[in-house]
Amino acid sequence: MSTAHVLLGLLAAGPRHGYDLKREHDERLPQAKPLAFGQVYATLGRLERDGLVIESGQDQDGGPERRSYELTDLGREKLDEWLASTEPPAPYVTSTLFNKVVVALLAAGVDRARDYLIAQRDAHMSRMRELTAAKSAVDATVGDVVAADYALGHLDADLRWLRTTLTRVADLQKEVTA
Protein backbone atom coordinates (compact mmCIF):
# COMPACT_ATOMS: atom_id res chain seq x y z
CA MET A 1 0.00 0.00 0.00
CA SER A 2 1.36 3.40 -0.76
CA THR A 3 1.12 6.56 1.26
CA ALA A 4 0.68 8.37 -2.06
CA HIS A 5 -2.72 6.80 -2.63
CA VAL A 6 -3.89 7.65 0.86
CA LEU A 7 -2.83 11.28 0.36
CA LEU A 8 -4.69 11.38 -2.96
CA GLY A 9 -7.74 10.03 -1.12
CA LEU A 10 -7.53 12.70 1.57
CA LEU A 11 -7.20 15.41 -1.09
CA ALA A 12 -10.35 14.15 -2.82
CA ALA A 13 -12.39 16.08 -0.26
CA GLY A 14 -10.69 19.36 -1.18
CA PRO A 15 -7.36 21.21 -0.96
CA ARG A 16 -5.23 20.52 2.10
CA HIS A 17 -1.95 21.66 3.61
CA GLY A 18 0.76 19.13 4.31
CA TYR A 19 0.05 19.56 8.01
CA ASP A 20 -3.67 18.77 7.55
CA LEU A 21 -2.80 15.69 5.54
CA LYS A 22 -0.51 14.33 8.23
CA ARG A 23 -3.07 14.98 10.95
CA GLU A 24 -5.91 13.40 8.98
CA HIS A 25 -3.82 10.41 7.98
CA ASP A 26 -2.89 9.68 11.59
CA GLU A 27 -6.45 10.20 12.79
CA ARG A 28 -8.26 8.16 10.13
CA LEU A 29 -5.79 5.31 9.98
CA PRO A 30 -4.93 4.75 13.62
CA GLN A 31 -3.41 1.32 12.94
CA ALA A 32 -0.87 2.79 10.50
CA LYS A 33 2.48 4.21 11.56
CA PRO A 34 2.15 7.99 12.03
CA LEU A 35 3.43 9.88 9.00
CA ALA A 36 6.53 12.02 9.40
CA PHE A 37 6.24 15.55 8.00
CA GLY A 38 9.25 14.91 5.80
CA GLN A 39 7.49 11.95 4.28
CA VAL A 40 4.34 13.98 3.59
CA TYR A 41 6.24 16.70 1.76
CA ALA A 42 8.45 14.26 -0.14
CA THR A 43 5.36 12.36 -1.28
CA LEU A 44 3.53 15.55 -2.27
CA GLY A 45 6.62 16.56 -4.25
CA ARG A 46 6.53 13.29 -6.20
CA LEU A 47 2.79 13.57 -6.78
CA GLU A 48 3.24 17.10 -8.07
CA ARG A 49 6.08 16.04 -10.36
CA ASP A 50 3.85 13.30 -11.80
CA GLY A 51 0.97 15.72 -12.36
CA LEU A 52 -1.37 14.11 -9.82
CA VAL A 53 -1.62 17.15 -7.55
CA ILE A 54 -0.98 20.85 -8.02
CA GLU A 55 -0.27 23.61 -5.60
CA SER A 56 -3.47 25.53 -5.05
CA GLY A 57 -2.38 28.30 -2.78
CA GLN A 58 -0.09 29.60 -0.07
CA ASP A 59 -0.84 31.34 3.14
CA GLN A 60 1.29 32.63 5.90
CA ASP A 61 -1.28 33.11 8.63
CA GLY A 62 1.24 34.71 10.95
CA GLY A 63 3.35 31.52 11.14
CA PRO A 64 5.59 29.85 8.58
CA GLU A 65 4.48 29.81 4.96
CA ARG A 66 2.11 26.91 4.18
CA ARG A 67 1.33 25.53 0.75
CA SER A 68 -1.90 23.77 0.00
CA TYR A 69 -2.40 21.14 -2.68
CA GLU A 70 -5.31 19.86 -4.69
CA LEU A 71 -6.03 16.85 -6.89
CA THR A 72 -5.71 17.11 -10.65
CA ASP A 73 -7.98 15.14 -12.99
CA LEU A 74 -5.15 12.70 -13.51
CA GLY A 75 -4.78 12.37 -9.75
CA ARG A 76 -8.47 11.58 -9.38
CA GLU A 77 -8.17 9.00 -12.13
CA LYS A 78 -5.23 7.32 -10.38
CA LEU A 79 -7.17 7.30 -7.12
CA ASP A 80 -10.21 5.71 -8.79
CA GLU A 81 -7.99 3.06 -10.33
CA TRP A 82 -6.54 2.18 -6.96
CA LEU A 83 -9.92 2.07 -5.25
CA ALA A 84 -11.30 -0.22 -7.93
CA SER A 85 -8.38 -2.67 -7.88
CA THR A 86 -8.16 -5.58 -5.48
CA GLU A 87 -5.07 -6.26 -3.44
CA PRO A 88 -3.16 -9.48 -4.17
CA PRO A 89 -4.56 -11.88 -1.55
CA ALA A 90 -1.61 -12.64 0.69
CA PRO A 91 -1.04 -12.82 4.44
CA TYR A 92 -0.79 -9.47 6.20
CA VAL A 93 -2.69 -7.33 3.74
CA THR A 94 -5.33 -6.40 6.29
CA SER A 95 -4.01 -2.93 7.00
CA THR A 96 -4.00 -2.17 3.28
CA LEU A 97 -7.58 -3.41 3.02
CA PHE A 98 -8.52 -1.23 5.96
CA ASN A 99 -6.87 1.85 4.47
CA LYS A 100 -8.58 1.28 1.17
CA VAL A 101 -12.01 1.07 2.75
CA VAL A 102 -11.46 4.28 4.71
CA VAL A 103 -10.09 6.13 1.68
CA ALA A 104 -12.99 4.87 -0.45
CA LEU A 105 -15.45 6.24 2.11
CA LEU A 106 -13.69 9.59 2.26
CA ALA A 107 -13.19 9.99 -1.45
CA ALA A 108 -16.10 8.21 -3.07
CA GLY A 109 -18.71 7.03 -0.57
CA VAL A 110 -20.38 3.87 0.65
CA ASP A 111 -21.06 2.30 -2.74
CA ARG A 112 -17.44 2.44 -3.76
CA ALA A 113 -16.32 0.95 -0.44
CA ARG A 114 -18.92 -1.78 -0.81
CA ASP A 115 -17.94 -2.62 -4.39
CA TYR A 116 -14.35 -2.83 -3.29
CA LEU A 117 -15.16 -5.15 -0.37
CA ILE A 118 -17.13 -7.45 -2.67
CA ALA A 119 -14.37 -7.58 -5.28
CA GLN A 120 -11.73 -8.17 -2.63
CA ARG A 121 -13.81 -10.95 -1.14
CA ASP A 122 -13.95 -12.71 -4.53
CA ALA A 123 -10.19 -12.34 -4.94
CA HIS A 124 -9.58 -13.79 -1.48
CA MET A 125 -11.95 -16.67 -2.07
CA SER A 126 -10.31 -17.68 -5.36
CA ARG A 127 -6.90 -17.58 -3.75
CA MET A 128 -8.21 -19.79 -0.94
CA ARG A 129 -9.48 -22.27 -3.52
CA GLU A 130 -6.05 -22.36 -5.20
CA LEU A 131 -4.26 -22.88 -1.90
CA THR A 132 -6.70 -25.60 -0.85
CA ALA A 133 -6.24 -27.41 -4.15
CA ALA A 134 -2.46 -27.14 -3.76
CA LYS A 135 -2.45 -28.59 -0.26
CA SER A 136 -4.91 -31.37 -1.17
CA ALA A 137 -2.90 -32.45 -4.21
CA VAL A 138 -1.68 -36.03 -4.01
CA ASP A 139 1.95 -34.93 -4.46
CA ALA A 140 1.81 -32.10 -1.89
CA THR A 141 4.71 -32.20 0.56
CA VAL A 142 4.24 -31.49 4.26
CA GLY A 143 6.04 -28.22 3.59
CA ASP A 144 3.45 -27.30 0.95
CA VAL A 145 0.62 -28.09 3.34
CA VAL A 146 2.09 -26.11 6.21
CA ALA A 147 2.78 -23.10 3.97
CA ALA A 148 -0.72 -23.22 2.49
CA ASP A 149 -2.23 -23.45 5.98
CA TYR A 150 -0.35 -20.34 7.02
CA ALA A 151 -1.77 -18.31 4.13
CA LEU A 152 -5.25 -19.84 4.45
CA GLY A 153 -5.50 -18.90 8.11
CA HIS A 154 -4.73 -15.26 7.36
CA LEU A 155 -7.00 -15.05 4.33
CA ASP A 156 -9.82 -16.59 6.34
CA ALA A 157 -9.36 -13.96 9.03
CA ASP A 158 -9.43 -11.23 6.35
CA LEU A 159 -12.63 -12.66 4.92
CA ARG A 160 -14.35 -12.49 8.29
CA TRP A 161 -13.19 -8.91 8.60
CA LEU A 162 -14.46 -8.09 5.09
CA ARG A 163 -17.87 -9.45 6.00
CA THR A 164 -18.27 -7.67 9.30
CA THR A 165 -16.92 -4.43 7.81
CA LEU A 166 -19.54 -4.54 5.12
CA THR A 167 -22.27 -4.48 7.74
CA ARG A 168 -20.58 -1.52 9.42
CA VAL A 169 -19.58 0.46 6.38
CA ALA A 170 -22.41 3.01 6.58
CA ASP A 171 -21.67 3.72 10.24
CA LEU A 172 -17.99 3.94 9.47
CA GLN A 173 -18.72 6.51 6.81
CA LYS A 174 -20.67 8.67 9.25
CA GLU A 175 -17.65 8.57 11.51
CA VAL A 176 -14.92 9.29 8.95
CA THR A 177 -16.83 12.08 7.23
CA ALA A 178 -18.06 13.67 10.46
Binding site: R114, R121, T132
Partner: protein, 230 residues
Protein backbone atom coordinates in the same frame (compact mmCIF):
# COMPACT_ATOMS: atom_id res chain seq x y z
CA UNK B 1 -22.34 -25.57 -18.42
CA UNK B 2 -24.13 -27.96 -20.76
CA UNK B 3 -27.25 -29.62 -19.38
CA UNK B 4 -26.71 -29.81 -15.63
CA UNK B 5 -26.91 -33.13 -13.82
CA UNK B 6 -29.03 -31.63 -11.08
CA UNK B 7 -30.86 -28.35 -11.02
CA UNK B 8 -33.27 -26.41 -8.91
CA UNK B 9 -35.41 -23.67 -10.43
CA UNK B 10 -37.38 -21.18 -8.38
CA UNK B 11 -37.23 -23.38 -5.28
CA UNK B 12 -39.41 -22.04 -2.45
CA UNK B 13 -40.08 -23.71 0.87
CA UNK B 14 -41.69 -22.47 4.07
CA UNK B 15 -41.96 -23.97 7.52
CA UNK B 16 -45.41 -22.81 8.58
CA UNK B 17 -45.51 -19.06 8.03
CA UNK B 18 -41.72 -18.78 7.95
CA UNK B 19 -40.15 -18.82 4.49
CA UNK B 20 -36.82 -20.70 4.37
CA UNK B 21 -36.31 -20.46 0.62
CA UNK B 22 -37.83 -17.78 -1.58
CA UNK B 23 -37.06 -18.80 -5.15
CA UNK B 24 -33.58 -20.25 -5.54
CA UNK B 25 -31.99 -21.29 -8.84
CA UNK B 26 -29.02 -23.60 -8.72
CA UNK B 27 -27.38 -25.99 -11.17
CA UNK B 28 -24.77 -28.64 -10.55
CA UNK B 29 -22.81 -30.25 -13.36
CA UNK B 30 -21.59 -33.83 -13.55
CA UNK B 31 -18.64 -34.23 -11.18
CA UNK B 32 -18.79 -30.62 -10.05
CA UNK B 33 -18.27 -29.64 -6.42
CA UNK B 34 -20.51 -26.72 -5.45
CA UNK B 35 -20.43 -25.15 -2.01
CA UNK B 36 -23.69 -23.68 -0.72
CA UNK B 37 -22.77 -21.10 1.89
CA UNK B 38 -24.32 -18.32 3.89
CA UNK B 39 -25.04 -17.39 7.49
CA UNK B 40 -27.18 -19.44 9.88
CA UNK B 41 -30.81 -19.46 8.85
CA UNK B 42 -30.13 -18.49 5.22
CA UNK B 43 -31.83 -21.66 3.96
CA UNK B 44 -28.79 -23.65 2.85
CA UNK B 45 -29.72 -26.88 4.63
CA UNK B 46 -33.30 -26.63 3.41
CA UNK B 47 -32.01 -26.24 -0.14
CA UNK B 48 -29.89 -29.38 0.24
CA UNK B 49 -32.88 -31.31 1.56
CA UNK B 50 -35.05 -30.14 -1.35
CA UNK B 51 -32.39 -30.99 -3.95
CA UNK B 52 -31.84 -34.43 -2.41
CA UNK B 53 -35.57 -35.11 -2.53
CA UNK B 54 -35.79 -35.45 1.26
CA UNK B 55 -38.11 -32.44 1.42
CA UNK B 56 -40.63 -31.50 -1.20
CA UNK B 57 -40.37 -27.84 -2.27
CA UNK B 58 -43.59 -25.78 -2.04
CA UNK B 59 -42.79 -24.19 -5.37
CA UNK B 60 -40.26 -24.65 -8.13
CA UNK B 61 -38.70 -27.66 -9.76
CA UNK B 62 -35.88 -30.02 -8.93
CA UNK B 63 -34.60 -31.84 -11.99
CA UNK B 64 -32.20 -34.74 -12.02
CA UNK B 65 -31.03 -35.82 -15.46
CA UNK B 66 -33.75 -33.56 -16.88
CA UNK B 67 -36.52 -35.33 -14.99
CA UNK B 68 -38.77 -33.41 -12.62
CA UNK B 69 -38.41 -35.15 -9.24
CA UNK B 70 -41.60 -33.46 -8.03
CA UNK B 71 -43.55 -35.77 -10.33
CA UNK B 72 -41.98 -38.88 -8.85
CA UNK B 73 -43.63 -40.94 -6.11
CA UNK B 74 -42.10 -41.02 -2.64
CA UNK B 75 -40.92 -44.57 -3.20
CA UNK B 76 -39.27 -43.70 -6.51
CA UNK B 77 -37.47 -40.81 -4.83
CA UNK B 78 -36.37 -43.06 -1.96
CA UNK B 79 -34.97 -45.49 -4.49
CA UNK B 80 -33.09 -42.67 -6.17
CA UNK B 81 -31.61 -41.65 -2.83
CA UNK B 82 -30.42 -45.21 -2.21
CA UNK B 83 -28.72 -45.59 -5.58
CA UNK B 84 -27.84 -42.32 -7.30
CA UNK B 85 -27.59 -39.99 -4.29
CA UNK B 86 -25.42 -40.17 -1.20
CA UNK B 87 -26.20 -38.11 1.89
CA UNK B 88 -23.86 -37.05 4.66
CA UNK B 89 -24.75 -34.95 7.70
CA UNK B 90 -22.81 -33.15 10.39
CA UNK B 91 -23.00 -36.07 12.75
CA UNK B 92 -22.29 -39.38 11.05
CA UNK B 93 -25.61 -40.90 11.98
CA UNK B 94 -24.12 -44.36 11.96
CA UNK B 95 -26.38 -47.03 13.40
CA UNK B 96 -24.95 -47.51 16.91
CA UNK B 97 -25.79 -51.23 17.09
CA UNK B 98 -23.91 -52.05 13.89
CA UNK B 99 -20.15 -52.30 13.33
CA UNK B 100 -18.37 -49.89 10.97
CA UNK B 101 -18.35 -52.49 8.18
CA UNK B 102 -22.05 -53.26 8.68
CA UNK B 103 -22.90 -49.57 8.62
CA UNK B 104 -21.02 -49.02 5.37
CA UNK B 105 -22.53 -52.16 3.81
CA UNK B 106 -26.07 -51.08 4.70
CA UNK B 107 -26.88 -48.94 1.63
CA UNK B 108 -25.75 -51.77 -0.65
CA UNK B 109 -27.93 -54.30 1.19
CA UNK B 110 -30.88 -51.90 0.94
CA UNK B 111 -30.21 -51.56 -2.78
CA UNK B 112 -30.32 -55.35 -3.15
CA UNK B 113 -26.67 -56.44 -3.12
CA UNK B 114 -25.68 -59.80 -1.64
CA UNK B 115 -24.30 -59.91 1.90
CA UNK B 116 -20.77 -60.99 0.99
CA UNK B 117 -20.46 -58.57 -1.90
CA UNK B 118 -21.68 -55.70 0.31
CA UNK B 119 -19.18 -56.53 3.06
CA UNK B 120 -16.31 -56.68 0.61
CA UNK B 121 -17.21 -53.32 -0.87
CA UNK B 122 -17.55 -51.88 2.63
CA UNK B 123 -14.08 -53.10 3.58
CA UNK B 124 -12.60 -51.62 0.41
CA UNK B 125 -14.09 -48.22 1.21
CA UNK B 126 -13.02 -48.36 4.85
CA UNK B 127 -9.51 -49.19 3.70
CA UNK B 128 -9.54 -46.30 1.29
CA UNK B 129 -10.35 -43.94 4.13
CA UNK B 130 -7.74 -45.47 6.46
CA UNK B 131 -10.23 -46.91 8.91
CA UNK B 132 -10.13 -50.56 7.79
CA UNK B 133 -8.75 -51.61 11.17
CA UNK B 134 -11.95 -50.35 12.78
CA UNK B 135 -14.22 -52.49 10.57
CA UNK B 136 -15.54 -54.53 13.48
CA UNK B 137 -15.84 -51.65 15.95
CA UNK B 138 -19.16 -50.10 16.82
CA UNK B 139 -19.45 -46.29 16.47
CA UNK B 140 -19.26 -45.85 20.26
CA UNK B 141 -15.70 -47.17 20.19
CA UNK B 142 -14.52 -44.68 17.56
CA UNK B 143 -13.51 -40.99 17.66
CA UNK B 144 -15.70 -38.38 15.98
CA UNK B 145 -13.30 -38.15 13.05
CA UNK B 146 -13.22 -41.92 12.58
CA UNK B 147 -17.02 -42.10 12.72
CA UNK B 148 -17.32 -39.36 10.13
CA UNK B 149 -14.87 -41.14 7.82
CA UNK B 150 -17.06 -44.25 8.09
CA UNK B 151 -20.07 -42.08 7.32
CA UNK B 152 -18.34 -40.74 4.19
CA UNK B 153 -17.56 -44.33 3.18
CA UNK B 154 -21.21 -45.21 3.71
CA UNK B 155 -22.38 -42.23 1.66
CA UNK B 156 -20.06 -43.17 -1.22
CA UNK B 157 -20.26 -46.97 -1.19
CA UNK B 158 -23.05 -47.04 -3.76
CA UNK B 159 -20.89 -44.81 -5.99
CA UNK B 160 -23.59 -42.16 -6.18
CA UNK B 161 -23.72 -39.54 -8.92
CA UNK B 162 -24.38 -36.80 -6.37
CA UNK B 163 -23.17 -36.55 -2.80
CA UNK B 164 -25.12 -34.18 -0.55
CA UNK B 165 -22.99 -33.13 2.41
CA UNK B 166 -24.53 -30.88 5.08
CA UNK B 167 -21.82 -29.33 7.27
CA UNK B 168 -19.91 -32.62 7.08
CA UNK B 169 -17.04 -31.32 9.20
CA UNK B 170 -19.07 -29.20 11.59
CA UNK B 171 -18.50 -31.51 14.54
CA UNK B 172 -14.80 -32.18 13.87
CA UNK B 173 -11.60 -30.42 14.78
CA UNK B 174 -9.77 -28.80 11.89
CA UNK B 175 -7.37 -31.62 11.04
CA UNK B 176 -10.02 -34.34 11.21
CA UNK B 177 -12.25 -32.11 9.11
CA UNK B 178 -9.56 -31.67 6.49
CA UNK B 179 -9.08 -35.43 6.20
CA UNK B 180 -12.80 -35.87 5.59
CA UNK B 181 -12.85 -33.08 2.99
CA UNK B 182 -9.78 -34.45 1.23
CA UNK B 183 -11.51 -37.82 1.00
CA UNK B 184 -14.69 -36.34 -0.36
CA UNK B 185 -12.83 -34.30 -2.98
CA UNK B 186 -10.65 -37.22 -4.07
CA UNK B 187 -13.56 -39.61 -4.33
CA UNK B 188 -15.49 -36.99 -6.29
CA UNK B 189 -12.62 -36.51 -8.76
CA UNK B 190 -11.99 -40.23 -9.18
CA UNK B 191 -15.61 -41.19 -9.74
CA UNK B 192 -16.88 -37.98 -11.24
CA UNK B 193 -19.37 -37.64 -8.40
CA UNK B 194 -20.98 -34.23 -8.09
CA UNK B 195 -20.99 -32.79 -4.56
CA UNK B 196 -23.35 -30.27 -2.98
CA UNK B 197 -21.41 -29.09 0.06
CA UNK B 198 -23.33 -27.01 2.59
CA UNK B 199 -21.09 -25.03 4.92
CA UNK B 200 -20.85 -21.66 6.65
CA UNK B 201 -17.05 -21.74 6.69
CA UNK B 202 -14.93 -20.17 3.95
CA UNK B 203 -12.14 -22.68 4.52
CA UNK B 204 -14.53 -25.54 3.82
CA UNK B 205 -16.10 -23.77 0.84
CA UNK B 206 -12.59 -23.39 -0.60
CA UNK B 207 -12.60 -27.14 -1.32
CA UNK B 208 -15.37 -26.59 -3.88
CA UNK B 209 -15.05 -25.57 -7.53
CA UNK B 210 -17.38 -22.65 -6.94
CA UNK B 211 -19.90 -21.43 -4.41
CA UNK B 212 -23.48 -20.29 -4.27
CA UNK B 213 -24.14 -17.90 -1.40
CA UNK B 214 -27.61 -17.67 0.12
CA UNK B 215 -29.05 -14.90 2.20
CA UNK B 216 -32.56 -14.89 3.62
CA UNK B 217 -33.63 -17.68 1.30
CA UNK B 218 -32.38 -16.21 -1.98
CA UNK B 219 -29.10 -16.37 -3.88
CA UNK B 220 -26.88 -13.46 -2.89
CA UNK B 221 -24.91 -12.40 -5.96
CA UNK B 222 -22.54 -10.24 -3.94
CA UNK B 223 -21.19 -13.41 -2.37
CA UNK B 224 -21.11 -11.81 1.05
CA UNK B 225 -24.20 -13.37 2.55
CA UNK B 226 -25.06 -10.29 4.58
CA UNK B 227 -27.30 -7.31 4.20
CA UNK B 228 -25.76 -4.00 3.36
CA UNK B 229 -26.60 -1.17 5.65
CA UNK B 230 -26.99 2.00 3.54
Amino acid sequence: MSTPLLSGTGIAKSYGPTPALRGVDIAVGEGEIVAVTGPSGCGKSTLLHCLAGILRADQGQVEYREQDLGLWSDSARSRLRRTEFGVLFQFGQLVPELTAAENVALPLLLAGSGRREAREAALTWLDRFDVADLADNRPGAMSGGQQQRCAVARALVTEPRVLFADEPTGALDQLAGEQVLDQIVRASREQNTAVVLVTHEARVAAYADREVVLRDGVVDLTGLGIGVDR
